[in-house]
Structures are given as C-alpha cells and as structure tokens.
C-alpha cells in the first residue's frame, strides 16, 4: 500500500506545481458544463419570429393570425407583401416561418370551397421547425374548429353540442420526467457526462503517457514499489476523486440551483458515477498500454470520446442508428451511464432495472484493465522513452 500512497503523493505534487494543470483540471470541465447550461438556460423556446402574408385581410384571417401570435413559441414579427419577402426573411435567418392566407379566403370559406392556408417553415433547424409546426398547427386547428362551430351555429345547432362534435376525440397527455419540456433538463446530464468522460480519458492518458515521453517510467515504478497496480491506481485515484467530486458538484448545481428534477437513489447514482469515471480512465490506460506513446494515445482518446454525446443516444435515439452505430455505442460507457442517470434522476426507476447498465460499464472498465500487464512490460522498456 505504501507504494500506492507514494505514487498518489507524487502525482498531487506534480499537479500542484503547474498552475496550468490546475486550471485544466478544476476550471475547464466546470466552465464547459456551465456554458452548456447557460446556452439552454431559457429552458423552452419562446416568441420565435414568424412572418405572415395575408392576401385576404379579413376578420377571419386576422383572427387566425392573432391565434398564432398568442401561442408561446411564435411571434408574428413581420407582415410581408410578397412570397419573395417571406422567403428572404427565412433565408437570412430573421424569421423561422411564414404563413400565407390566400386571396378570397373568407369568401371561399363561406362558399364552402375549402381554401388553403399554407405554412412554410425552416426545417434545417429540426428542433425549432418542429416546435413551431406543432404549436402553429394546433393553434390553426383550434381556430378551424371555432370557424366550424360558427358555421354550424348559423345552421341553428346549439353551441354546446357543436363544440362537442368538433372535438370528438381528445388527448389526455400524462407526461412524466420532464413535463415542462425544458431543454436544459433534457440535455444537462448527458452533456455533463460527455464533458467529463473526455477529461477522464485524456487525463488518464496524459498522466500515464507523460512518463513515457519524459522517460521517467522507471522512476515512477520505483515510487510504486515496482507494483504496476500501485503505480496505475495511485495516479488514477487522484483524478478519480477530483472528477467524481466535480461532476457531482455540477449535478448538484443543476438540481438544487436550477431545479432540474431528481427522483432517484442518491447513493446508487454516486457509486455509478464513480464507476463511470473509473471505467473511462481504464480505457485511457489501455491506449497508453498499447501504444506506449503519449501523443498517439491522446489522439486515440480524443477520437474515442469526441463523439460520446452523439452515441449516448440522447439527441438522436440509439435505436434509430444502423447496426454498426449501435455496436460502436456499446463500447462507450457513456451510453449505459446516461440511460442509468436519466432513469434515476428523471424517471425515478427502481434500481433493479438499472443494474444491467452497471454490468455494462464494468465490462468496459475490465476490458481496459486487462491490458495492465502490457503497460508494465512497456514501462520497463527504455527503448520506448522520448517518443513523440
């Protein structure tokens, strides 16, 4: 055990001696997590600029326009005179959508000619386009039902019966987890996990690989009483504690200060977070063990972690990826971890349903650990020093 503590002490004094390293470890992950939160801090999308081309200009078209304007996501900011003006506003990013009421809209309505309202929206921005299209559609359908009711009432039907008839099937939505549709809640856990997995791998690679680059592996092993386990875990435990503490601190801020939901088991989440970081560190170790070259294993680590968020299946569901994508995502502990933390924090699942994710994360860690013998062999080989 002595070698373990000596290695840990050696690592701590190395970190302390470099102000730059301190900033990288303690400030950067928190800073990037903060930037992500700040970007999405509004939580929901409100008052996106929309243009309207009203060629009818009747009380009905104005009424529908008002109904659209009063939806939370849309704001009728521009009234344009032609199609081209509308397109230009969308192309230049000033408006996200534009709505066209045809000429004689009201007249056609009264003649029962079923006139068309046309809605153009920018779907390059899928999320924004989707929100606008959903909200505006429901506003328009509600107005349509009101117009329908008016027409029927003119024919002498009682008002209540009319309203019932036009709303025959209603949807009672019981939304769990994130009922406010808050995007910051939605992305927070996955994005934070993404940032930290990068630091877990890169620092593991850095701290082990630098011994090769500086030609100090023998000195390092000597400090650890020639035990590779002491040597590796003495180093990694320092970063394990720091990063677990930092990631939990970030979650804490999200949950307590920002009000992100948390319905799970705290101890279980803390332990699985630790396991998550450790498992990534061991994968980092594997890169160094195989390449015994700092720069090359940095590149491997960067490649391995850079697409973590994508493959976590948060933004684009893993089930919709092609088989090869799903297979690759199995190799990344972030996928089971994000599922686990979302199940726990937002859905409040019972623990037993998430144990499978623990096995999954552990398996990846063990894969990394299995190369520790190779690392020892390479660490004793002076021929591998000073490589760039």
């Amino acid at each position: 055990m002595n070698g373990f503590w000596e290695t840990a002490k050696r690592e701590i004094s190395r970190i302390k001696s470099s102000r730059f390293m301190l900033v990288m470890i303690f400030v950067l992950p928190i800073f990037f997590s903060f930037i992500i939160w700040w970007t999405f801090s509004a939580g929901t999308v409100k008052d996106l600029p929309v243009a309207v081309l009203d060629l009818d200009n009747s009380d009905i078209s104005r009424g529908i326009t008002r109904a659209i304007d009063s939806t939370p996501s849309a704001d009728i900011k521009y009234r344009v005179e032609s199609y081209n003006q509308g397109y230009d506003l969308i192309k230049s990013g000033q408006a996200y959508a534009f709505i066209v009421f045809p000429q004689h809209f009201k007249k056609d309505l009264n003649r029962n000619n079923q006139p068309k309202i046309v809605f153009y929206y920018n779907n390059q921005t899928i999320l924004i386009g989707g929100i606008l299209s959903k909200d505006i559609q429901s506003a328009v359908i509600t107005s349509m039902k009101a117009v329908d009711a008016q027409i029927r009432m003119k024919k002498g039907l009682p008002k209540d019966a009319v309203m019932q008839k036009v709303n025959l099937i209603r949807v009672d939505e019981r939304v769990k987890s994130n009922p406010y549709m808050n995007y910051a809640y939605f992305l927070a856990f996955a994005a934070i996990a993404h940032i930290f997995q990068i630091f877990a791998v890169l620092f593991s690679v850095w701290t082990l690989g630098i011994e090769f680059k500086d030609g100090t592996t023998k000195e390092w092993l000597k400090t650890a009483n020639d035990s590779i386990f002491n040597a590796v875990f003495g180093k990694l435990c320092v970063y394990l504690i720091i990063f677990t503490a930092l990631i939990l601190f970030t979650y804490f801020c999200y949950i307590v200060l920002y009000g992100s939901p948390f319905n799970g088991n705290i101890i279980f989440c803390i332990l699985s977070t630790m396991l998550f970081i450790l498992s990534y560190q061991l994968v980092g170790m594997m890169f160094v063990a195989i390449t015994s070259n700092l720069r090359l294993s940095m590149s491997c680590g960067a490649f391995y972690t850079a697409m973590g968020l994508t493959f976590a299946g948060m933004t684009f569901p893993a089930m919709s990826m092609p088989a090869i994508g799903r297979f690759y995502s199995v190799l990344l502990p972030i996928r089971p971890y994000v599922n686990l933390i979302i199940d726990q924090a937002m859905k409040g699942f019972p623990i037993q349903y998430d144990l499978i994710y623990i096995y999954w994360i552990t398996a990846t860690g063990l894969l990394g650990l299995s190369t520790i013998g190779l690392l020892k062999k390479h660490a004793c080989d002076e021929e591998l020093w000073y490589q760039i």
Binding site: L28, L127, E173, L202, T305, I342
Partner: protein, 405 residues
C-alpha cells in the same frame, strides 16, 4: 518578404506530412471523423417508436383507432396490455417508450357524439422519442374525429367531398423548407464538417507551435532509427525572424491545405453521403477564405498558452460540444443569452457555421450572409495580432535560454 513567406509555407507543409502527430490530426482526423460521423444518423430520422396500448373498450372503433395509430410512421404498437402495471413493467425494462389507454365506452360515447379521452402515458426525458409519440396521437385524434364526423354526415346523405369540406372548412398545408424530410443527418452533419475544419486545424497548428516551443527550451526526442537526440533550436524558423512573415507563411500553408478539404467536404461528399447541398459555389468559396485564415491565426495564437505539444487536445476536444449549440441551428439564437451570442462571434466557427449553412443548405446569396463574412474578416485581424504575439513570446523564450547558457 514574399519569398520568405513562400519558403516558410513550403516548410510548414513538409512538416505536416512528416510529423506523425500532425499527420494524424490534420490529414487523418479530417477523413476519419467525417466518415465515421456519417454512421449514426444514416437512418435519417426516428421512426416506429415502440409503444404499448391498453384497450379497455375492445370495440370495432377502438380497434380501428389502434390500427390507424400503428400505421403512422411515428410509432409501432408492440404490446397489447390488459392492465397498467403490466405496461409499466415493460416500460421499466425499456421495451416500450410510452403507452396509450383507450377508455371504456369509447365507442358508445363517440356514437352519441360525446367527447372521449384517450390517455397517453409518455415520458419526455428523451425529447425526440416523446415528440414522435405526441405527434402521432394528436394528429390521429384530430383525423380520426374528422373521419367519424364525415361518416356521420355521409349516413345523413351528404356526398363525401362535401362532407369533408363541412368538417374541415379550410385546409392547412405545411411546407417544410430546406430539410423536408426532417433528416437528422442534414441537420447535424454539415455543422460537424464545418466544426471539424476548425478544431483539427487549431489542434494541428497549436501542436506544431508548441513542439517548436519544446524544442526552443531543449528536449529529447527519439528518432525514427531508435536513437535519442537532444533538440535545442535557436529560432522559430531558419528563414525569417519577422513575426509577420512567420505567421503569414504558416497560415497560408494551413488554410491552403484546408481549402482543399473544404472543397472535398462540400463538393464531393454530398454526392455520396446523404446530405443536401445547394452547390451555391460563389458565396461558399468567398466565405471560406476568411474562415480558414482566422482559424489558422487562432491556432497559432493559442500556442501562447500551450507550452506542451499535447495540451491543445484538452481544450479543443472538450469545447466541441458547447460550441456546436451556439450558431443557433440546434437552439435558437433568440433563446441564447445575449452575452453568449456576442462572445460566440469571436470564435470563427460560429459566424462560419451561420453563413455556410445558410449558403450550402438554404441557398442564401452572398448579400444575405455578408455580416458573417465581415465578422470573419474582423476575426482574421484580431487573431493575426494574437499569432504575432505568440511568435514574439517564443522568440523571447529563445533569447532567455541563450542568456541562461
């Protein structure tokens, strides 16, 4: 002056292709990442989300409703449960993403013209999945209600097309522009390509710069033949001591190389990767010039903070995710705090992504993205000065070392 710049530029290109680390980042990563990134989204969109259904009515109409729901592209009905606990078990096991409850007396109420409630139990932790379920049920509820109304009217002897017009007094036509099928690939992939250009160039440029800094301080490197050599450089480049010449020479090398990559990304890739491109060439080639140059200056400027060869990795790999949200295509600019919007303008990727996506995917003309162009030109000036400062710092370290000796 010009001949020095050309010499430095040539030397730099040679360096990129002989330093294994740079080669991997500035050539390998450019292709590896871009090809790898085609993979996750190649199915374009999420379809057929598995859901469960609890039919408490078991009537002809409820069965028809379920059939219609299953027929939508959004969801797929996987199980038919008898009670809610059974459905919850499957939900916990992640076998179904949501479930729908059809009430008893669904058919009777509808036939009497009384509204009936269909309950959806969904969870919005995964927003895209939630949206598919919500859209499917909401759209179907409206359509189904209308269908029944039309049927009732037809029974009363109203002709079908007139009945439809009576139930739906006007039509609402949705026209999604630029990415009509709502493909995730079209949405994310172009942005990833633009970001790859910036991130790999900055890592590479910074790596080259900090390697020189290491060598100026004196460092041991192992040669290809296995022997260890002690390097101690006396100047940043043998061709010139003028920071302006050094910075320009290197910047032309990086941005020239990357100009070729950009052409491959935007002109050749779209023909074999499924992503839309307008081939709006003139504004694209124009805006790429200040974009790539500002990245080249930025990377050289960052050397100021990176004294070790590998350090730039940390900053650039972890900054990609926060950066991708800022140009306003993932999350609208209107919802991003104003200060963040302002600061993000100083990162070349932001104005470049704004301009290039409008040009390449939305067909904007140069005048519609002029603002982005001029911001990038401004960034070139700012980061050119930073890059010169970084070279000055490196030169001052050299002289310090000489005095030490």
């Amino acid at each position: 002056m010009v001949s020095n710049i050309i010499k430095i530029c040539k030397d730099e290109l040679k360096l990129i292709f002989t330093d294994a680390g740079c080669l991997l980042v500035m050539v390998g990563a450019i292709f590896m990442y871009s090809i790898f990134y085609m993979m996750p989204f190649s199915n374009q969109a999420t379809r057929d989300v598995p859901i469960g259904v609890i039919d408490n009515d078991r009537s002809a109409i409820s069965r028809e409703f379920i059939r219609d729901l299953d027929a939508t592209e959004y969801v797929k009905i996987k199980n038919d449960f008898t009670d809610i606990n059974e459905a919850k078990q499957e939900y916990y096991k992640n076998k179904i993403q949501a479930f729908i409850v059809i009430p008893k007396d669904f058919e009777r109420d509808i036939k009497r013209g009384k509204p009936s409630f269909v309950s959806t139990y969904s969870d919005s932790a995964f927003m895209i999945i939630y949206k598919q379920v919500a859209t499917a049920v909401a759209t179907l509820a409206t359509e189904f209600g209308a269908k029944i109304e039309v049927g009732t009217l037809m029974k009363k002897g109203v002709p079908k097309d007139k009945a439809i017009k009576l139930v739906m007094p006007f039509d609402f036509v949705q026209n999604p522009l630029y990415n009509p099928i709502g493909s995730y690939q079209n949405y994310i992939y172009p942005m990833v390509l633009i970001m790859l250009l910036q991130q790999t160039m900055i890592i590479g440029a910074c790596m080259i710069g900090s390697t020189i800094r290491e060598k100026l301080r004196g460092v041991r490197y192992r040669e290809k033949d296995g022997s260890v050599k002690f390097y101690k450089l006396n100047s940043v480049t043998p061709y010139s001591n003028n920071p302006v010449e050094i910075v320009l020479g290197k910047a032309f090398a990086y941005s020239g190389l990357y100009y070729i990559y950009a052409m491959i990304y935007f002109l050749i890739f779209p023909s074999f990767v499924v992503y839309d491109m307008t081939y709006n060439i003139f504004p694209m080639v124009l805006i790429l010039i200040p974009y790539l140059l500002s990245c080249a200056f930025f990377g050289q400027g960052l050397v100021y903070f990176c004294s070790k060869r590998e350090v730039s990795f940390f900053i650039l790999v972890s900054s990609s995710v926060p950066l991708i949200f800022l140009p306003g295509f993932v999350w609208p600019k209107e919802a991003i705090p104003a200060f963040l919007n302002f600061v993000s303008k100083f990162i070349p990727f932001e104005p470049a992504a704004d301009g290039l996506i409008k040009i390449n995917q939305m067909g904007a003309s140069f005048s519609q993205v002029q603002k982005d162009f001029w911001i990038l030109v401004g960034l070139c000036v700012i980061y050119f000065i930073c890059a010169c400062a970084a070279v000055k710092k490196m030169q001052s370290e050299t002289t310090q070392n000489i005095e030490d000796m």
